[in-house]
């Protein structure tokens, strides 16, 4: 009967036959699927980094050439004189302002009719005209020189283009055609001589100019009030300061030398510290990141200033104070904000918030607020308010996490010692989660700095360093940002041009900024994990 008993089953030792596709078992396929996904992200990151660097770094070489041309073609020389001319223009603006003040004084305080007031200002107008016209001969010289040096630059650029063309033809094997391309070499020495040859004429003009200015000042009529008198005195001071700069300008012109090399680091410093971002100009392009960086910074600061109290405060309320029902309501609401597409927020900013803020600023009751009233609807404040809205969910969620991670035992111990809820929050819960909260704020900052659509639509897009002398009112000025400029200009630039590459370097800057912020946040979080244990 033994034979009827089933033999002991040892099948489980033998590898079961599995379904295999392309020699892969199911387990292998799963492994490859998940591993593959991870690998793809790593590769994509590497590619992006490589691409950014590859496209971006060419910029510095091109910028160096750009600066070199600026010198060799004599644009730099002309700009010395032009600077003088614009300084004079600033002074005439001061005079217009002074006229307006006199006019207001006459009409508002003396109750003189506008036409009579204008009449009484004839003497001043004559003086202002005299002062303003004094620059004319200089202006003539500048425009003449501008034409000359632009011509040199154009000639040079054409020659460069031809050279590129010939090289291309050569590489394509069309030797004959390549030889047919005529390259006109630019003899800078000769060309520039025409510019520097005007130096004696300039010296004469400048001396004349200074004399005329002083002569004009003598005809300035007396001012009616001490305050206005002071202003005129100030103007006299400004004028003599201006004239005092003449010798320095002359010296710059005398020592100017088109052959002087442009040091390589200037390609970097002109970008990093350049105060102007000026593209597609007929004169000279400047790629300075400072105005864009300041714009991004100011907008982000305003955003953080609003978002940090809001996000952290809401997190504390929801995590520590709110009832379960309130939690269930508030949390999804705040998290929902991050679901609003930023272009919609930007649209809201233009159509509603910008209008509303401007309207508020023009209310008489609010005139005491610094910067009020303002006329630019789109400015740092408008963009900052909207960016705050974008940062709040990030800060809220992460700060709430950090608060949640504070061991309940700390709170219980505090309560058991007779602490109120508020004391427990301030003295125990917040300090214990502080590093988590700080990193939440940093990640919020990263979110804000990288945000594009809202700033493009609402920051006003004026490329200028905000005027900090305005004090707090600086937030009512329009700015342009690093993200905004890329989005706005990338579509129009020629691939491979210096402008194109400059935008890439701005992108690179953003990339590193975000990287640094994230890295810092990570570090702080890790430290916090260790300290709470």
């Amino acid at each position: 009967m033994d034979s009827l008993r089933p033999a002991p089953n040892s099948d489980f030792l033998v590898n079961k036959k599995r379904v295999r596709v392309l020699g892969l078992s199911f387990d292998d396929a799963v492994k490859i699927f998940f591993g593959g996904n991870a690998l793809v992200s790593v590769i994509v990151l590497a590619l992006i980094t490589y691409f950014l660097f590859q496209e971006g770094f060419g910029f510095f070489g091109q910028n160096h050439r750009n600066l070199l041309t600026y010198r060799q073609a004599g644009l730099e020389y002309v700009d010395y004189i032009r600077t003088q001319e614009s300084a004079h223009t600033a002074l005439t603006r001061y005079l217009s302002d002074l006229r307006l003040r006199q006019f207001n004084y006459a009409t508002l305080e003396k109750n003189i009719s506008p036409s009579a007031a204008n009449e009484s200002l004839v003497a001043f107008d004559d003086f202002a005209a005299l002062y303003g016209d004094a620059v004319e001969p200089l202006r003539g010289l500048v425009s003449e020189l501008t034409e000359q040096s632009t011509a040199i630059k154009t000639k040079f650029l054409v020659a460069e283009d031809k050279r590129v063309e010939r090289q291309q033809l050569t590489t394509e094997g069309k030797i004959a055609e390549a030889a047919a391309v005529k390259i006109e070499t630019v003899d800078f020495a000769l060309e520039v001589k025409a510019l520097t040859g005007t130096l004696p004429a300039y010296k004469e003009l400048a001396a004349e100019f200074a004399k005329k200015l002083d002569a004009a000042l003598v005809t300035a009529p007396a001012m009616p009030t001490p305050e206005l008198k002071n202003r005129l005195e100030r103007f006299r001071q400004l004028n003599s300061d201006f004239i005092a700069t003449f010798p320095a300008t002359t010296r710059s012109l005398e020592t100017w030398d088109y052959t002087r090399a442009v040091p390589w680091y200037q390609a970097f410093s002109a970008f990093l510290f350049g105060r102007e971002w000026l593209t597609a100009s007929f004169w000279q392009d400047w790629y300075g990141i400072v105005p864009l960086f300041m714009g991004s910074l100011m907008v982000s600061l305003v955003a953080l200033l609003l978002a940090v109290p809001m996000g952290v405060g809401a997190a504390i309320y929801v995590n520590q104070i709110a009832s379960a029902a309130e939690q269930r309501f508030i949390k999804p609401c705040i998290e929902f904000i991050s679901a609003i597409p930023s272009v919609v927020l930007g649209f809201f900013g233009i159509a509603v918030l910008g209008q509303l803020l401007r309207w508020l600023s023009q209310q008489d009751a609010l005139a005491w607020v610094p910067g009020f009233p303002f006329s630019e609807r789109l400015n740092i404040l408008t963009a900052g308010c909207l960016l705050a809205l974008i940062a709040v969910p990030t800060i809220f969620t992460l700060a709430e996490d950090a608060l949640q991670n504070v061991p309940k035992a700390f709170k219980e111990a505090s309560f058991a010692l007779g602490a109120t809820r508020l004391q427990t929050i301030i003295k125990i819960v917040v300090p214990a989660s502080l590093s988590g909260i700080i990193s939440a704020v940093l990640l919020g900052l990263g979110r804000v700095i990288g945000e594009t659509m809202v700033v493009l639509l609402c920051a006003g897009n004026r490329i200028a360093i905000p005027d900090f002398t305005a004090g707090l009112a600086v937030v009512t000025q329009p700015v342009h940002t690093m993200t905004g400029i890329i989005a706005q200009e990338m579509g129009e630039v020629v691939r491979g041009s210096i402008h194109y590459r400059a935008l890439f370097v701005v992108g690179l800057g953003l990339f590193f900024l975000s990287l640094a912020i994230n890295f810092l946040a990570q570090k702080i979080v890790n430290k916090y994990r260790i300290s709470i244990g």
Binding site: A409, L417, S531, I532, G533
Partner: protein, 275 residues
């Protein structure tokens, strides 16, 4: 080890007096209390008087409501949503602590607590101990210094930490942390100290230290201690309450509970036959 023999061995210096302790004045009067977590009842008609300057131990199998009752005594259960004392009163010196007019903050200053898992704040040792005092607005430096030394001496920790008062309390060993928590509790000079399994996370040596400390503290404070360790209850306490399924089964002198319990369930539990 057999509880009864450990009880009788006079070689143990910490054995409790053989004569039945005289009945002291009642400090806490738990008067027919029913307690609920939401809809589920955790305590059934608890009736128990805790005497002043005595150590009272709560014992019983897990989930029988020891911690719940303990946390009722300083209203820590208020922090949990949906809890309520549905019936009865808890009176401390004759005042019903669940009366709406009672200031919970004041109550918790007078009824301190030490938790099962040591929980010093992530602050320095000094700040841990002065925390409760600062809450009361005391900030005089020499005053605080004196309290810190007194409390740490009272918790038998002074000699070990006096040179590093300003380092983190989290840097101490588990046993030291628990004594720091005791020091923190006694710094505000409460009348009652509630201890919820204060030694369950400690090694035997640290446990002995805390038990010795309890022996010293009993002269100044009224102590209520929850423990799963029968020897500990026997060694440390004057009175013992045995709970089962949210009910008080037996409450008597510790000696009586361990030597000749009146209830069969108590007998079974203390002799280790269940629980």
């Amino acid at each position: 080890m057999d509880i009864k023999t450990s009880f009788n061995s006079s070689s143990s210096g910490r054995s409790i007096p053989v004569t039945s302790s005289p009945v002291g004045p009642t400090l806490i009067d738990i008067d027919h209390v029913d307690f609920y977590y939401g809809a589920s009842q955790a305590l059934h008609d608890i009736n128990l008087k805790i005497e002043e300057k005595k150590v009272t131990a709560f014992i019983g199998p897990s989930g029988c409501g020891k911690s719940t009752l303990l946390r009722c005594l300083n209203r820590m259960n208020d922090l949990i949503d949906g809890t309520r004392v549905a019936k009865g009163q808890i009176k401390i010196r004759g005042i019903n602590i669940y009366d709406p007019s009672v200031d919970v903050i004041e109550l918790r200053k007078r009824v301190g607590m030490v938790f099962q898992k040591s929980n010093p704040f992530p602050k320095s040792i000094y700040e841990n101990i002065t925390y409760g005092l600062r809450l009361q607005g005391r900030s005089n430096k020499s005053d605080l210094d004196a309290v810190v030394e007194k409390s740490l001496r009272g918790a038998a920790l002074w000699d070990e930490v006096k040179d590093r008062l300003h380092t983190s309390g989290l840097g101490l060993s588990g046993g030291q942390q628990q004594r720091l928590c005791i020091a923190r509790a006694i710094a505000v000079e409460p009348e009652v100290i509630l201890m919820d399994e204060p030694c369950s996370a400690l090694d035997p040596i640290a446990t002995v230290k805390v038990e010795e400390l309890i022996q010293e503290l009993r002269t100044k404070f009224t102590i209520v201690i929850v423990t799963h360790n029968m020897q500990q209850a026997a060694r440390c306490s004057d009175k013992t309450a045995f709970f089962y399924m949210g009910k008080l089964i037996e409450f008597a002198d510790t000696r009586a509970i361990f030597m000749n319990p009146a209830n069969a369930q108590t007998e079974a539990y203390v002799s280790g036959r269940f629980g």
